[in-house]
Amino acid sequence: MRKQLVLQPRIKETGLQLIKGYNFAYLDEGTKRMIRRAILKAVAVPGHQVPFGSREMPLPLGWGTGGIQITASLIGPDDILKVIDQGSDDTTNAVSIRRFFTQTTGVRSTEKTWMATLIQTRHRIPETPLRAGQIIIFQVPIPEPLRFLEPRETETRKMHGLSEYGVMYIKLYEDISIHGHIATAYMYPVMVHNRYVASPSPIPRFDNTKMNRMPALQLFGAGREKRIYAIPPYTTVKSLDFEDHPFEIEKWDHCCALCGSGESYLDEIVTDDQGGRLFVCSDTDYCQERRAVGHKGSLPDAVKMAITRVKRGD
């Protein structure tokens, strides 16, 4: 993944006021109840998509309204919220969503994964393993993993109901016949609790293994498609594969240039017009924590400072 060097004004989050005239967390209590019912249903049937009455939110469709509605229906005054986008706490989306919740709830927010009770995420699962009692909320564009091969909703519902998942394997078969291996890099379909095939949202396949038997509750919200699904703690989640082409995660030849980690998902950053690039952890909090305890990457300090500033949005 490439990120261009872009200068961004730093948003001062101190001094934000609770906005008057809105209910706690923006949604009315009736809506929250409706969403919680949907969540309960989803948790009761792991991986099964539950329809819900998605509301108009002050963000356009396609910008995480599903995830926001789940967070809004669950968040309480004692919660500590973390919001990330592509692994970073400081990209535009993460900042906007965190600010939305701060303004409508006054709830504390954090960048530290270990400290958060609610984590709303787009496109990544944090590297730091999550604990029992935490909830991670995924933003999902297309909740239906079969949609690409079967456009009819009536048909896909039947297929899920009858466990007819042959078509998913067609996709994997085609990948192997064309590329020699399964080429799906993100949104890699998973079998939840040996029953339902679900989309893990557009996370890289690297993160799929984290979903298996995760101690935290995983919730998935699609606002535009109006669906919620869930993976309860300690549920089996298996990525679809073939016996002779087992599921594999991405590997890099590099380590993080900042903290030296060889185990995290790395972003590729283009540094100049001559093709210079370096690799850094996508999960900014993880990278910072490692550096705080003394891990170092291969990069000189000056450049490190510059990179950190870029990622922070200065």
Partner: protein
């Protein structure tokens, strides 16, 4: 699938289908034994396609039963099967070859994926093994193995029809329903297709029900014949006997209308 010798594979009893007050087909009964080919002939509007749809479960008959022999359970009423059971049956022991092969194939995935789909739907999870089954069946229907990864959009009509057959046969069904399988194909292509079906029937012990208006097709392939007109079976018997010694007025008309080249 075990060989069974104790009775018919399919028992059709009094199948009737009304569309409102209009008769689609009325009171059709026959038995089909393993390895038998039954031809159903008639002109447009004769009810033959309605009958086929009623047998395959695509339409629900107004009255009558269709029973299929299913191993230890013996003869099972197909109409009483649950939706998942029927879908499973259609995917394993039964095959359906449609007149328009585009309706019976997934046009947006490769030929190989089309053939392998049923195997994957039934739980096959070894790519190498699936692939070799795919090659085996493409070869059997005389499709060039080099086309395995091609889209069916690039196939000719005859190739599409053969691909549809391969797609159905990969799970070794015992009964295949065919609706005008040679419709719209060039004569030489028809000949090739019929030849293929003949050898598959004798090699695999398949039972076929072929619905067609083409008497030459049934002459070549079918052991027995049902002649339908206005929804009713007007004559039935051995194929050569019905065609050479037709008794019913309509059969006589049909047979005499065929232009001999």
């Amino acid at each position: 699938m075990s060989v069974h010798d104790e009775g018919p594979l399919l028992k059709v009893m009094g199948v009737t289908k009304y569309f409102g007050s209009r008769v689609g087909c009325r009171d059709v009964s026959f038995d089909l034994w393993p390895g038998e080919v039954l031809g159903i002939v008639g002109e447009s509007g004769s009810g033959k396609t309605t009958l086929l749809s009623s047998l395959s479960g695509y339409l629900e008959p107004s009255t009558g039963t269709v029973k299929y022999w299913m191993g230890q359970e013996g003869l099972v009423d197909v109409g009483r099967l649950s939706d998942p059971q029927r879908r499973y049956l259609m995917r394993t022991e039964w095959g359906m070859v449609r007149q328009n092969p585009r309706e019976g194939l997934r046009m947006r995935v490769s030929a190989g994926a089309n053939v392998g789909e049923r195997l994957m739907a039934l739980g096959a999870r070894h790519y190498g093994k699936i692939r070799s089954e795919v090659f085996k069946w493409l070869d059997r229907v005389e499709i060039d193995l080099g086309r395995v990864d091609d889209s069916p959009e690039t196939f000719s009509g005859g190739m599409l029809q053969r691909l549809q057959i391969a797609r159905n046969l990969v799970t070794k069904p015992r009964l295949v329903l065919m609706d005008e399988p040679t419709g719209g194909l060039d004569v030489s292509v028809q000949a090739r297709l019929l030849d293929l079906m003949r050898s598959l029937v004798s090699e695999l012990g398949l039972s076929l029900i072929i619905v067609t208006h083409d008497l030459a097709v049934v002459r070549l392939l079918a052991h027995r014949l049902l002649v339908m007109r206005n929804g009713e079976v007007v004559e039935s018997g051995l194929t050569d006997q019905v065609l050479d010694d037709p008794h019913h007025a309509y059969t006589q008309l049909l047979v005499s209308s065929v232009i001999q080249p």
